[in-house]
């Protein structure tokens, strides 16, 4: 079920009303209903893949209990490995089987050997990368004794499949989300209202920004050999806004929806395009994934408290693995490696924690230095996005080649009259997010004393823009991950 679909527009109010009016008396009922609604939400796409979530939940639930019973380090390690094997095994099979097969075949043929390979027709289950990481974090935390294993079967299964964040995150940690399933949720007016606002802004980013940008981005990337250099640069910039609108929009809707049900999910985006360096960008972009890799991969490898060679190795590992997490394609690996190259100088020069505060804090506009820093960071990010968006590495290199070759040609293939409104919406997005950059989301109006008429005027305007200027419905990009 897509957040921007009629199905969800009907599903959400029904689930909301039953949750707060029928099953609100008892915590077990609340959790059971959340679990039921989550399975309906996921099964709407393909009910057959529910078995995967159920199996994955069952494995980690059982392993969690076994870990609490066992004291011998070897057995505990074995249990953890079993959890990793099952979760990564599912992910590896559904997502990476064909990639490895093709890469091996290519490698063999490169050395003049022929290798018979049978490509499988595998459907990638929606959200598998997200929920496997979520359950995995539970087993690791229990193994490290950071978290007590749960014996509440329904709460654990509901935690794994919680519908607002099931298919595209934020990837929640058990330490944050699971305890929320132990306490009966009470309705809080201000939290629910703020959730509604966050959903509205998320829809704006998805339907107006991402879906409209998608039209141009697809056209430019699919016909890049017929485009001028400027049009190609524009295509890459628009993709930067498309992926931001798409993914942060999804996260906003997920977080806002969870708030309607009395849950607090972790923040996933913190206005990343206002970052002054790449380190700051990675503290603000897909926070739930980057902190996951930091906590479960980077720090166990020694983090930055090791020798320089190992620091470089660790940085490359987490960025490349993070790129590979996005998809079984060399383009994602290149994207990850490129970000590692951006990040390394900052880390080695100990400049990576230079910009921890909000840019131009308590000022209306950034100063020239900040503006240049933001511009440079954005440019580097856009360059890396070309690899992320390209279908293959040759496609990415050809795209870059055509930028250089046709740089001075007038921008052909761009329908200016169609592009102008998109630019207008992007400008509106940037201005709104800049003004609200110290908040959790751009439509957080709590405590701002804005009269109701004005507030409602803003909401109605956004709804009008959504319906009148929204792009044609596209799937969320991160569903494929």
């Amino acid at each position: 079920m897509l957040f921007n679909s009629l199905d969800f527009a009907i599903f959400l109010p029904i689930v909301f009303l039953i949750y707060w009016f029928v099953v609100n008396k008892n915590l077990r009922y609340q959790n059971f209903f959340i679990l039921f609604a989550s399975y309906v939400f996921y099964g709407w796409w393909d009910w057959r893949f529910l078995s995967l979530i159920i199996f994955s939940s069952f494995v980690d639930y059982t392993i969690g209990i076994q870990l609490s019973k066992r004291e011998k380090p070897n057995i505990r390690k074995l249990l953890l490995l079993a959890s990793i094997f099952v979760n990564i095994g599912f992910l590896g099979f559904f997502k990476y089987y064909n990639f490895f097969l093709e890469s091996f075949t290519d490698a063999f043929s490169f050395f003049g050997q022929s290798f018979e390979s049978n490509r499988l027709n595998i459907i990638l289950p929606v959200g598998i990368s997200f929920y496997t990481f979520q359950t995995l974090s539970y087993s690791i935390d229990v193994y490290k004794r950071k978290l007590k294993p749960t014996r509440n079967f329904v709460a654990f299964f509901a935690f794994v499949s919680f519908f607002p964040q099931l298919v595209a995150g934020p990837i929640e940690r058990a330490v944050n989300l699971l305890p929320q399933f132990y306490i009966k949720r009470k309705f809080e007016y201000s939290r629910a209202i703020d959730g509604m606002r966050q959903i509205l802004w998320g829809l704006f980013k998805k339907v107006v920004i991402a879906d409209n940008c998608a039209y141009f981005v697809n056209d430019i990337f699919n016909h890049h050999t017929h485009c001028s250099g400027l049009a190609l640069i524009l295509g890459a910039v628009l993709f930067a806004f498309q992926i931001y609108g798409d993914f942060s929009g999804y996260s906003d809707i997920a977080i806002g929806t969870a708030r309607l049900f009395g849950f607090n999910l972790m923040r996933n985006f913190a206005f990343p395009y206002f970052s002054r360096d790449i380190a700051e960008f990675w503290r603000r972009w897909h926070i739930s994934l980057s902190t996951w890799f930091r906590d479960y991969v980077y720090i166990p490898l020694g983090g930055s408290k090791v020798g320089k060679f190992k620091i470089v190795r660790n940085i490359f590992i987490i960025f490349v693995v993070s790129g590979f997490w996005h998809g079984a394609n060399w383009t994602f690996i290149a994207w990850g490696a490129l970000n590692a190259i951006y990040f390394l100088p900052l880390l080695l020069l100990k400049q990576n924690r230079r910009n921890l505060n909000i840019v131009a804090e308590s000022k209306t506009l950034p100063n020239l230095r900040e503006l240049l820093q933001i511009g440079l960071t954005f440019t580097l990010t856009v360059f890396a996005w070309i690899f992320f968006r390209a279908d293959s590495l040759p496609h990415a290199f050809s795209y870059l080649n055509f930028i250089a070759l046709n740089l001075l040609e007038p921008p052909a293939r761009i329908e200016l009259m169609k592009l102008l409104p998109v630019i207008l919406w992007i400008v509106l997005l940037i201005i709104t997010e800049w003004i609200q950059r110290d908040k959790q989301h751009a439509l957080q109006l709590n405590g701002m004393n804005i009269p109701r008429v004005v507030r409602w005027g803003i909401y109605y305007s956004i709804i009008f823009i959504l319906f009148y200027f929204g792009g044609s419905q596209q799937e969320f990009i991160y569903f494929q991950f």
Binding site: L6, F187, A192, I193, M196, W456, Y459, F467, G470, Q473
Partner: protein, 311 residues
């Protein structure tokens, strides 16, 4: 909670109440489900479902040429039947007609298929859809289900308003003011709908060779199912007929005729063998109501004469 519900009801009520009034007021113009990216095609599918004509004897399939240049009343008069359905729509190419024919005709079971065509029908395709959805929709006949399945709020509201215009006019291309059988007459003597299109030439260079294979498949499908095909070559306005057109249309007609012959269907009925004056047209190839009547009479008489001759 009460405050939250009250505020939300009021907030969304302010949106939904006026929209509901608009929908109610324009209820007869509710657009067809967005099964394809062509509103004209969507409306035609809705028309077919709503009319629910059981097994019509005669079916017209094709593009805007069949849609606008075929006069339903003359067809009924000449064929002496009331069992007729015009399935054609703007922008359909041969590949679309092929899908429509193979998907719908086994259910509709006509005796005869009429296809009025111009070389433009052989250009590259522009309409995007899944032909299975069209078949399922026509079989299911459940408008609500398909409105839900293909719901697009923006499309729905936009079309609701524009349908009000399109269903009440005959002097714009977008006219969807169907007669009882699904045809549309572009009326008004000396009405030139679009200056650019008035002077447009047939772009023989845009013809996709693959479209001839689609015509071949249509013809062969109809022959296999014992359905007669009447293929009519529609003319262009007299003012545009030149040597270039004559040379190229000759080649085109030859290709079409050999396909029809190969599949043992009637020969093409050629309407280019006579001059059609400019005042019968609304653009380079679409006829006005008078033109549609005249040309329908012209080819039907030719058809029956040939038939009698054969008997």
């Amino acid at each position: 909670m009460k405050k939250f519900l009250k505020n939300n009801l009021f907030f969304f009520g302010l949106i939904f109440v006026p929209i509901s009034f608009i929908i109610l007021a324009l209820s007869s113009y509710i657009p067809g489900p967005k099964i394809t990216n062509s509103y004209s095609y969507n409306e035609k599918m809705k028309f077919i479902v709503e009319r629910n004509i059981q097994e019509p004897q005669l079916i017209a399939v094709g593009s805007s040429i069949t849609f606008n240049n075929l006069n339903s009343n003359v067809v009924l008069e000449e064929f002496k039947t009331n069992s007729y359905l015009n399935l054609s729509s703007w922008g359909l190419r041969m590949n679309d007609s092929y899908l429509l024919t193979t998907q719908l005709l086994p259910t509709l079971k006509p005796n005869t298929v009429i296809m009025m065509s111009s070389p433009v029908d052989f250009y590259g395709s522009t309409i995007k859809y899944n032909s299975k959805n069209i078949k399922d929709f026509v079989d299911d006949k459940n408008l609500l289900k398909y409105h839900y399945k293909f719901f697009d709020s923006k499309y729905f509201m936009k079309r609701l308003v524009t349908n009000y215009i399109n269903f009440n006019t005959n002097d714009i291309y977008k006219s969807l003011n169907y007669d009882r059988f699904g045809g549309v007459m572009l009326n008004g003597q000396n009405l030139v709908i679009n200056e650019l299109r008035w002077n447009q030439q047939v772009g023989f260079e845009y013809i996709w060779p693959a479209q001839y294979y689609y015509l071949d498949s249509i013809t062969s499908f109809l022959s296999e199912n014992g359905i007669e095909l009447i293929f009519i070559q529609s003319p262009i306005r007299a003012g545009l007929v030149n040597d270039f057109f004559i040379q190229n249309i000759k080649k085109h007609k030859h290709k079409v005729d050999s396909i029809l012959f190969k599949n043992s269907q009637n020969s093409m009925i050629d309407c280019i063998d006579t001059i059609w004056s400019d005042n019968l047209f609304v653009d380079f190839q679409h006829l006005n109501e008078t033109g549609a009547k005249e040309i329908t009479k012209y080819w039907t008489r030719k058809y029956f004469k040939d038939k009698m001759h054969l008997q």
